[in-house]
């Protein structure tokens, strides 16, 4: 009885010292701000002055604000380009690394993954230098091949947003190469062997066997990519600040600028920014559900 009592006491102490503060911090710093942002989304508030409750006004404003639809269009352009390009390149590279036995393959896997551990600011600044109008790497390469090379890629409205696409692809491909390699290595060899006996080509093997078996992983990858592309506005924040002329302003950056930018606004909009945050939240959950439904039917078990 005495033993039980002391063991119980130890347990209580342990839980109190260990679980309680970390859990309280989780509730305070993660859960509470989520609730708070719902509250803020109904306010007219500049962050310092009086909080005015304005009901659904901010939500109505979402639909009337032309900058919202413009920003969402930019997001859409990035989503429909970055995701398929990233998936296609990663699938091809992963297939090559798994099914061809080149000596350098294991080195490539590690090298391809490297952009994932690079700091966001470093990536942003490297790509700023790549795209620079006077001493950029891209222009330098174009000059070597005699293809012009005078263009200011991030400085002109027509190319600024499109220039972000290769950056995103460059960042993400390595991660998905590893994910797809793991999945491909999990496919039973016997499936390939019987097909090889039937005289199937590399290409048919890839499209007829590998791709269908990977549909579950591709679905997860698509959801991951949607999340990353919509959330990842820091590159624009660092490289273009949304410019020129708002041509690289994506929805998260617009939200960020409303709250913290104050550059041209002269004022902070904490309430309205929180409303946009809620919209992004709903958007992300909605897109996840759509992708789940879209892919659920044709996922394959083996």
């Amino acid at each position: 009885m005495h033993f039980l009592k002391s063991a119980r006491f130890q347990k209580a102490i342990f839980l109190f010292i260990v679980v309680a503060p970390a859990f309280a911090a989780y509730v305070l710093f993660t859960l509470y701000p989520n609730a708070l942002s719902i509250f803020y989304s109904f306010l007219d508030w500049d962050g310092i002055g009086v909080k005015t409750f304005i009901g659904w006004d901010n939500y109505i404003r979402l639909f009337q604000d032309p900058f919202i639809s413009r920003a969402l269009q930019h997001n859409l352009i990035l989503l429909v380009t970055v995701i398929p390009i990233t998936l296609a390149i990663s699938l091809v590279l992963a297939d090559l690394l798994v099914n061809r036995t080149f000596g350098e393959n294991s080195f490539y896997k590690v090298l391809y993954f490297f952009p994932n551990v690079l700091s966001l600011v470093v990536i942003a600044l490297i790509w700023s230098f790549i795209y620079d109008g006077t001493f950029g790497l891209l222009n330098g390469l174009l000059q070597v091949f005699g293809l012009g090379g005078e263009h200011n890629w991030l400085g002109s409205k027509s190319t600024a947003l499109l220039s972000m696409i290769p950056l995103y692809v460059w960042c993400y491909v390595g991660f998905y190469v590893v994910i797809f390699m793991n999945a491909m290595q999990g496919i039973p060899k016997s499936l390939y062997e019987s097909a090889t006996l039937d005289g199937i080509t590399h290409m048919q093997r890839f499209t007829k066997i590998t791709l269908p078996l990977l549909s579950g992983v591709i679905r997860v990858g698509t959801i991951f990519l949607i999340l990353s592309v919509i959330k990842g506005f820091e590159y624009m924040l660092i490289m273009t600040k949304g410019g020129p002329g708002g041509s690289t302003e994506v929805i998260s950056l617009y939200m960020f600028n409303l709250a913290f930018g104050g550059l041209n606004l002269g004022q902070h909009f904490y309430g309205y920014a929180s409303t946009i945050g809620m919209m992004i939240f709903v958007l992300l959950v909605g897109l996840k559900l759509v992708v789940d439904k879209f892919f659920a039917k044709d996922s394959v078990e083996y």
Partner: protein, 276 residues
């Protein structure tokens, strides 16, 4: 014959992608050893001599020296606290029976569904109300103390795989809970803790948005925000080679950690993605 040609073609594809990763990095390194005049005149030309002085300038004039100390403090302390929190919580949630366990576990797992992007404003106002803005300790608190779902999942599954008899027999021998944790569970969980530690280190070292929003005093900038700021100043100074040298300095710790722990990093980073 045809097969050999296509085989080489595919080999080239792999090589080209490798080049897209390596070329920009080497290019930065190459330009960082020139003078500004050489850099502006011709980006391909060899430097007349290697200007290691750019690195000295970056360290002092761009404030990298100071920001490295800030980063060491912020990353080091956050890492220590968060590893402690993750390990003891994983132990409490997987190997001790208590009343609210499954309830608290599910509450923590909620965070896996929260995108986080919608709380930029509210988290900032919360930190401001607690007087934790513009303070490295505030950053440490925010990054280190809250228990994380990902860490709990990873370490928890690791600890669950350890046989139950380990703690039971130790308890019968009269060991206390603390002793069991420290002498048995902790050493056996080391591989999992190291994986999380490296993974966390990379995340903390690269973290930009948090410090960018919360820290306003340049003397307290961690290295990522410092580089952002240095870049913004270049519009007036145009000392690009020094900035590039600063970039190389920023990349060096990443390269070292990656070369040493690439297997663990890749394993840890892709762990969430493998499961459908």
């Amino acid at each position: 014959m045809r097969i050999r040609v296509t085989s080489w073609l595919w080999r080239m594809v792999l090589f080209v992608w490798a080049l897209t990763v390596l070329l920009p990095l080497f290019w930065i390194l190459y330009q960082s050893l020139k003078t500004n005049q050489e850099f502006f005149a011709d980006i391909w030309a060899f430097p007349s001599h290697l200007k290691w002085g750019n690195y000295e300038k970056a360290w002092t004039q761009l404030g990298i020296g100071k920001s490295v100390i800030n980063t060491l403090y912020y990353v080091g302390l956050s890492l220590l606290i968060s590893l402690f929190v993750s390990t003891v919580n994983a132990y409490a949630f997987t190997r001790i029976q208590w009343k609210l366990r499954s309830l608290l576990w599910s509450v923590i797992m909620i965070s896996l569904f929260l995108p986080g992007i919608n709380i930029l404003v509210s988290q900032y106002t919360l930190m401001r109300a607690l007087d934790l803005t513009n303070s490295l300790n505030g950053l440490v608190l925010l990054a280190g103390l809250p228990v994380g779902a990902f860490e709990l999942l990873l370490l928890g599954s690791f600890m669950r795989s350890l046989p139950k008899e380990l703690d039971e027999s130790a308890f019968i021998d009269g060991a206390t809970l603390f002793q069991v944790f420290r002498k048995i569970i902790l050493p056996l969980s080391m591989p999992g803790i190291v994986t999380i530690g490296i993974f966390k280190f990379v995340g903390l070292y690269n973290d930009f948005l948090g410090p960018f929003i919360l820290i306003s005093d340049p003397d307290k900038y961690p290295i990522s925000v410092n580089m952002y700021n240095a870049n913004a100043m270049m519009e007036f100074k145009a000392d690009w080679v020094t900035l590039l040298a600063g970039l190389v300095i920023t990349i060096i710790p990443t390269v070292i950690v990656y070369v040493l722990f690439q297997r663990k990093i890749i394993e840890g980073a892709t762990m969430g993605g493998v499961k459908g």
